[in-house]
Amino acid sequence: MNSVVNTGAAPVATPFFFYFLAGAAIVSGLLVITRRNAVHSALSLIVTLLSVAGLYLMLYAPFVAGVQIIVYAGGIMVLFLFVIMLVNIERSAKDRQFNRIWPVGLAAACALLSLFVSAFVKGRNLFPDRLVALQESSNTQQIAAMLYGEAGRMGPYTFAFEIASLLLLVAILGAVIMTKKKI
């Protein structure tokens, strides 16, 4: 994995950090689905998200890493915990976590895995051999260009981005209507 070409700083012990982060992500990901205590699961999920943020950093995508931390680890997971804390942990811990449709779940997981593997095998030549050295300082700008467009032109994802924000607005309104009886 030590194939990253770097212009400025030379990262230290890159393979170590990669395996460390990947291992942490996998282990904590497994903990998420095996812990019976929902709060423990949520905390494990936070570790997973942070590890993934670290991996983004290693891919020279600091902006995505930062957003990952802010939005997922900092925002969404806090709300998750907020809700989970109010759930009766004692009761939910006693419930069987793996219910009867687990074979279906296993099958779905296997299918997904085989999809990934086949995509990786078949499209091997689509993946770059080595990561292109990104200009770290322009990373944020590039994302902006992708999302909002540049110099008067729409970026490739502008439409999707706007649609997504509209969707979120609808979700917000729905949440307000659901929780408030009279507005």
Partner: protein, 389 residues
Amino acid sequence: MKDSMDELSNGAVSHLDLETPEKPYLDANELIINMGPQHPATHGVLRVILKLDGEKVLGTECVIGYLHRGVEKIAENRTYTMFNPYVDRMDYVAAVSNGLGYCEAVEKLLNVEAPPRAQYIRVVLTELNRIASHQLWLGTHALDIGAMTPLFYTFRDREEILKIFERYCGARLTTHAFRIGGCQYETYAGFEKDVKNFLAFFPPKIDEYEALLTSNRIWLERTKNVGVISGKDCIALGVTGPVLRASGVKWDLRKAQPYAAYSKFDFEIPVGENGDTYDRYMVRMIEMRQSLRIIEQAVNGIPEGPIMGKVPKVIKPPVGEIYHSIEAPKGELGYFIVSDGSTQPYRVRVRPPSFVNLQALDIMVRGMLVADVVAVIGTLDIVLGEVDR
């Protein structure tokens, strides 16, 4: 607890407007929180069991009695004179008022009256004590709402009053200032000067408290429309004192049924409008100023003469019973004394204002937030020594 509250909200107290907070839309578990008896804001050993929906209070139940010392039982085993110091230990921040109520009640039973000089001294000391009590209330109330600093200011100024007490009778808190039939001691040399110094010293200090709180936005938000109680509810629940007056009922025993020398002084009764925590705050602040007015008139007019009335050495009231009440800083403090003709009271019943006022806590905090419970406990100005006796 639930039963009692249902009873309260149905039929039993139909004329009391007990609004049950609307049921939560999402299914949420009710949270039972035990506030006290060890809690920084319950002013002693009050225990309040709160039923919460999130932060909203659905109902409360007060558990009291942690400070119960059986004062009424003690009275039956002491002579009238021996019992006098015990009353100081009930509302220990207004010991002088307690003593005044008890002494006057026994005097009434004996059918004697304290001489004018004693009456005036009593008024001066009792009003000083009212200010001290209100100062303590203000400091702790502000602390409950999160303002730390007023506590220290009020304690600094309360010190001046306690110094006068100390010079007068040697005690600062449990003063035992009065005797049945008059005063315990003749005023010390310079008593009047000390009191007059205090009269000059204190008004700027009230302004100082008010500068910190009265128009403070957060203070206003925390106290306006918090713990509202109507005058009607106050009367139905027997709530007296500044709480009653803040709800718009202009009733003060010092005016309604004057005792001691109060009929000779000119003062006003402050009245609130909304019956919320802010009005109670304002009423007490004005009361402090009015107390200063009374003290000024009293200390300038202390007549010469004896300080003790014609009371026998052994106090042995004739058979009979009497109820006498005074306006203590917290409300109507009454003594119901039954005499069997012996030297010991057959029965002494204390009608404690804090005890009765505390009953209003429940309807004042229903539907409000946890933080308001603390504010309302503070604004009721309870002293657990008096609630539990």
